[in-house]
Assembly symmetry: C2
Homo-oligomer: 231 residues x 2
């Protein structure tokens, strides 16, 4: 009823002022106390809004010194990294999956280097193709450590992709994600129906459980693929 002002409302208003340069980059922002008075809210509420802005990198806060608009505002973008299947379905297409190969082997030199592991480790190496409306969407080249995920030895990955299988079966504590452009390798080109050397968009993900490497995956998309976000 007497709908009190929410910290989200305050955040929106503060963001607006920053966006339209009421408070230009580097400018000092009034203290929480005075903002609280202005908005008719408590300091805690203003604080919640300011913390959110700080987390987004829009403002910089220092005790005693006060808050100011980040000199280089919006330096953080957030991208969602969905499961391939969801991504395809969200695009309104029919999802298709097929396993191209599966073998248990020691890691190659590149894999050892990326995951900081020895040659003695054993990995499941998978090559898969994800499709949208029967057209190639993503070529997945994945390595799963049997030390970290013994159950992967008995999974066949014929119907469920390694991504989804791992989500449900393999814990991890930290991960690294990278995007880059590359020239399609022979495998990638063949799977995606492109010419060798043509541009592909690659997402590479590494995960660990503590110090133990869990999985390394290289996901190649045809160049039409875009990763988009709104700020």
């Amino acid at each position: 009823m007497n709908t009190r002002i929410s910290w989200r409302d305050i955040r929106e208003e503060l963001m607006r002022r920053i966006a339209v340069r009421d408070w230009p980059p580097g400018a000092e922002i009034p203290g929480e106390e005075s903002l609280a008075a202005e908005f008719g809210a408590s300091r805690a509420t203003v604080n919640r809004a300011m913390q959110d802005l700080a987390a987004r990198g829009l403002v910089e806060r220092k005790r005693k010194a006060g808050s100011r608009v980040a000199s280089n505002p919006v330096r953080e973008a957030r991208f969602v990294i969905p499961l391939v299947r969801h991504e395809v379905e969200k695009a309104g297409a029919e999802y298709g999956y097929s396993l191209l190969s599966r073998e248990v082997v020691p890691p190659t030199g590149i894999v050892r280097a990326r995951l900081q592991t020895g040659a003695a480790a054993r990995f499941v190496h998978l090559r898969c193709l994800h499709m949208a409306d029967r057209r190639p969407w993503q070529y997945e080249d994945r390595w799963i450590s049997l030390d970290a995920v013994p159950a992967a030895a008995s999974a066949d990955f014929e119907t469920v992709g390694p991504n989804e299988w791992l989500v449900a079966n393999a814990p991890f504590s930290n991960a690294e994600y990278a995007f880059f452009a590359a020239a399609a390798s022979e495998d990638e080109a063949a799977a995606l129906g492109l010419a060798v050397g043509s541009p592909v968009f690659v997402g590479e993900r590494l995960t660990w459980l503590g110090e133990t490497p869990v999985t390394l995956v290289r996901m190649a998309h045809p160049p039409s693929h875009r990763v988009v976000t709104r700020l």
Copy 2:
């Protein structure tokens, strides 16, 4: 002194339990009240931690129903989008900048389509090269609307890149950022010292002030460029 438990501590512990599958995907998480009792904190503190996890997409919360670990960890990654100059300097290289061309023209068809603007509008069209240790780092193709940013007509962009100039001079209210791979155009190939058609990593950014388009930029990097984040 009597250092009380912080919501960040609680968040870390909850994240750990999720990561190691104490609470596997889809599992129900104890209510705030009981977590508060377990951690010896107030419900507000637990709530702050849970809200953070929800914002990260790690847990799903519903009133009455309670909280559960997200079944599809739609983990969102946060990437920093720094100024080119800072990016280069952070890589330990010497930053270099040069303006390749500058002209005031009506927008091309592609620009009009992307920015939803008419052919009558006037834009500053800039082509720039950013270098790291004298080697090409990024080729920037930028359009700035003179309707939104009249001051751009009198800026020469000879010494300061449009990116930095705009940050200090042009307000905007919303923006769209996209990453994708593309084949190098003739201009891009020439500027970056690559063969035409070789893969480039492209960042495209569009910004508006309200409904008014402000700027459109296409930033092409050589394929060695990686955008990395840790989750």
